[in-house]
Every structure is written in C-alpha cells, then in structure tokens.
C-alpha cells in the first residue's frame, strides 16, 4: 500500500502542478491515475517514486516515508520498484533476453544459468519466448511493452509503476497489455499504479481510480462507480471517449 499524504509540487515557475493530493494506492490492485493531458499524472507518478522531490507532504510505502529518505535509502527503495516507461525504454544495445537479465546481473547473486532461467521464465509469462535473441529495434511496439514488463517484474517488485502503458498501441493490443498487467498484479500481489487517459483501460481494469484535475484529486472510486461520479470534469472526459460514443450509439440503436 502506498499512501500519498498532502502532496504538493511546483516547478521553477511556482505554479502548483500538484495541489494537496491525498490518496491511497492499494496492494494487489490495479490503481489507475487518470486525467486530461497536462493535469499532472506523470508528475504525480514521478513524485511518488522519488524522481521529483515534493515540496510538501509525505509518501509512505507500507509505512516507509520516501520523502524522509536520503539518496542511498531511496536507491535501496527503488530495488523494490518496477517501472514501465511510456516508450518502453529498453536498452537498444542489448537483446530482449539481455534486457530482462540486466536487473539480475546488477543485483542478484544467482549464477549465470539461474539468471537466464529466471529471465526466460518472465519472458514466457509475457509470451515472448520466441523473441529473446532479437534487439528492441527488431520487435513491434506491443512486444517491446511486453519485454519491458518482463524486465520490470524480473526482480519480483512489490510496487509496479506504468506510465501510459497503452500509448502507441492499437486497442486490441492495449487491452492485452492491460490484462497482462492486471493478471501479474493479482498473481504476485503487487501494488500497481497505472497512468492512463485511455477510457477503455479505465472500464477494463479500474479497480481503484484516482482522477486528477488541474493538479487536484477530483474523484476516487472504482470502475463500477465511474459513470455516476457527480464530478463534472470527469464526466466530460468520459463523454469525450470513443467507448462512450459507441455505447451511446448502441443504446439509441436499441431504442429505435
């Protein structure tokens, strides 16, 4: 469980990008941060993992406050975190297998064969075993995302952060990635935080949804409550989505 308490953050220009955010990301669930472009989702995520220092407030990882840690303690904390970046961020100079083995090479004391086995196990989990000897440039965007997921989970992280895991993917592949992340979250009881503005993901895997609007928390709930929030900016966002248009169309077609 990650608790975000009274977190505020501004950059050099002094505008509060995050304004007194309070929320809880629950263990074993897919926690979604949603909001319009520029609302502060990425800043919230980067502040939570400690890439940005917050101006005010506290962030507790199962009780451990990352805002009070020194650089070395944050470094140790990061070893419990897996992160999936918007552009996959695989290392170009390494094969898929080497990418997944990288965290093991860096931190684990297993012998070479055991590392390889563990990496292959993770690649099998994301259904990528046949691509292990290819380079990132040689595989598709969806495969890159899956390789990045394998790399993020290879050290059994307790916390998994995903910044827009669906960007640049077609709806079907997006759905597959969403489900994969959700399955892994349940399987290993990970605290997963996903940054998205994809309404399909919200409806599909929104077990705990935090809506950010202009740097403030606009609403929090789950996917079953999302249609009836009473929060105008969130409803605007939902109404603008393709999925909603489809539902509305289907609805009217039925009525006619």
């Amino acid at each position: 469980m990650i608790e975000v308490k009274n977190v505020s953050k501004s950059f050099h220009d002094g505008v509060k990008v995050l304004d007194n955010i309070n929320t809880v990301f629950e263990t074993g669930k897919t926690n979604l941060i949603i909001g319009q472009s520029g609302s502060g989702k990425t800043v919230l995520m980067k502040s939570t993992v400690g890439i940005h220092k917050v101006d005010e407030g506290h962030i507790l990882y199962d009780g451990r406050d990352i805002t009070k840690m020194n650089d070395n303690q944050i470094k140790m904390m990061h070893r419990e975190i897996g992160m999936l970046f918007q552009g996959s961020a695989l290392f170009d100079s390494m094969t898929v297998l080497e990418n997944v083995m990288f965290p093991l090479d860096m931190f684990s004391d297993m012998d070479a064969d055991a590392k390889r086995d563990r990496a292959i196990e993770c690649l099998e989990r994301v259904d990528l075993k046949r691509a292990i000897d290819l380079f990132p440039a040689e595989i598709s965007g969806g495969m890159q995302k899956r390789a990045a997921i394998a790399r993020a989970i290879v050290l059994n992280p307790k916390y998994l952060f995903c910044d827009e895991p669906n960007s640049g993917l077609d709806p079907k592949t997006s759905l597959m990635i969403d489900r994969l992340i959700q399955e892994i979250t349940h399987e290993f009881n990970i605290t997963t935080i996903i940054n998205t503005h994809d309404m399909n993901s919200v409806m599909e895997i929104g077990e705990n949804i935090v809506f950010i609007y202009k740097g403030q928390k606009g609403w929090q709930g789950n996917k079953d409550q999302v249609y009836d929030t009473g929060c105008q900016p969130l409803e605007d966002l939902i109404f603008a989505s393709e999925l909603y248009k489809k539902i509305k169309k289907a609805h009217f077609t039925l009525k006619d």
């Binding site: 993992v49 890439i51 470094k75 140790m76 904390m77 990061h78 070893r79 975190i81 992160m83 970046f85 918007q86 552009g87 961020a89 695989l90 290392f91 170009d92 990288f102 965290p103 090479d105 860096m106 931190f107």
Partner: protein, 246 residues
C-alpha cells in the same frame, strides 16, 4: 545556461560518476565494450592520418631547412619532435574529439530522451556511474597506445617519403630521428593525451546526459560536445605545455 552553471552541473555529474561501481563485474563488462568501441575502432583512422601527416611534415621541414649550412639530420629531428610534442597528443585528440566525442554524446543523449537513463535510475542504479565511468576510464587507458601508434605511423610516413622520393635520403632521415632524443617528451605526450581523453569523454558524456527534448537536441548537443571539448583541449594544451615543458 551560462558558463558558471555549466561548470556547476558538470561538477555535480562528475561527483556522481566518479564513485565506486555498484557491481564490478558489470563495470568490467562495460569497460571492455568501451575499449573496443572507443579504442580498437579508432586505430585505423589513427594510423591513416598519422601516416599522411608524417609524410607532409617531412616534405615541409625539408623545404624549410634547405639551406646548405643546416645539417641534414635536422629534418628528421624536427619531424620526430613535431609528432611527439604536438601532432600525436594534441591534433590527434582533436580529431578523436570529433569521432569519439560525438559518438559518446549521441549514445548517452539518445538513452536520455528515450527514458533508458530513467529506467536505470529507477532500478536503484547510479546511471552516471554505470554509463559514464567505463567510457572515461576506457578512453584514458587506450589513448597512450593510440598516441604511440600515431608517433610510429608518422615517423614511418616520413621514412616512406625518404625512401620513395628524392626529398631527403634515408640515412639523413633516420639519423635525424635518433638525434638528441629526449625521453621525457614521450612522458609529456602521454600525460597530455590522457588529460585530453578525460576532457573528451567527460564533456561529451555531460552534453549527452543533460539532453532535454528530442532527437534534434541530441544532434545539437553532440555538436556542442565536439566544439567545446576542442576548445578546452586547445586551452589546456597551452597550459600543460607551459607547465610541463618550461
């Protein structure tokens, strides 16, 4: 950013870089890779340009010293000392600043804009140390060999001129090459080149590591890396020469 800010953030980056690696085996792997990429891959260009420069200097020196009062060995001596003191350590490093510097800056810069560096940091690894330290140490350790190879190739170039043209005789040339040799000049050349290797690799890493934006900025920053490390090399060449030779 003004100069003082650059110096400040450069120093900060070097403080992160020059620390004990998280894992020596990973450092070793990267180090060997960089030796290959920065050193071995530079040998060819190193030999070619040194050969040609050696040939050209020999002809020019001979022309300048065509006065019959001057002893014939002077040409060989001048060629040797020019290579030893200036060409092989300094001019060669300027050329390598173009090749190696842009290579380092664009590689690290691309990793920055594609979030590969963030990915390393978030794993709890000191990315500056992991990426930059092997490059700096590898380049500093290969540069003496590159300089020595360059000196020999240059002298060989001159010998070729003596052998195949009638500019100068082989006897005169070889006599000059051996005449009043100062061993300290070799030490001087190696010290100088190692300083320049540090400048090239660290400045290029700095410009790569601090890229903000997209592919365009990576290109701009690698140009800046080459231009600025060249200026710093020439400035410190003057200072080192004053310091070590006078």
């Amino acid at each position: 950013m003004n100069i003082i800010e650059h110096v400040g953030s450069f120093t900060k980056l070097m403080k992160l870089t020059l620390t004990i690696p998280d894992r020596w085996s990973m450092f070793g792997r990267q180090y060997v890779r960089e030796i290959m990429k920065l050193g071995i891959d530079s040998i060819f260009i190193d030999i070619i340009i040194s050969l040609f420069i050696g040939m050209a200097i020999t002809i020019q020196m001979k022309l300048n010293m065509s006065n019959p009062i001057l002893p014939g060995y002077l040409t060989g001596l001048a060629v040797r000392d020019t290579l030893l003191l200036e060409f092989s350590p300094t001019i060669l490093c300027l050329i390598l600043a173009g090749k190696v510097g842009s290579n380092i800056a664009s590689e690290i810069g691309t990793m920055r804009i594609t979030e590969q560096i963030d990915a390393i940091d978030i794993m709890g690894i000191n990315s500056a140390n992991y990426l930059i330290l092997p490059k700096i140490t590898a380049f500093i350790s290969v540069i003496p060999s590159l300089v020595i190879i360059s000196i020999f190739a240059g002298i060989l170039g001159g010998l070729g001129v003596a052998e195949f043209t009638d500019t100068i005789t082989v006897t005169e040339y070889t006599q000059g090459i051996q005449y009043s040799f100062v061993p300290f000049y070799v030490t001087y050349a190696i010290i100088k080149s190692m300083v320049f290797a540090f400048i090239i690799s660290s400045v290029a890493s700095y410009y790569g590591y601090t890229v903000k934006g997209g592919a365009l900025e990576v290109g701009k920053n690698s140009t800046k890396a080459v231009v600025n490390s060249s200026i710093i090399i020439l400035g410190s060449n003057f200072m080192l020469t004053k310091l070590l030779l006078t």
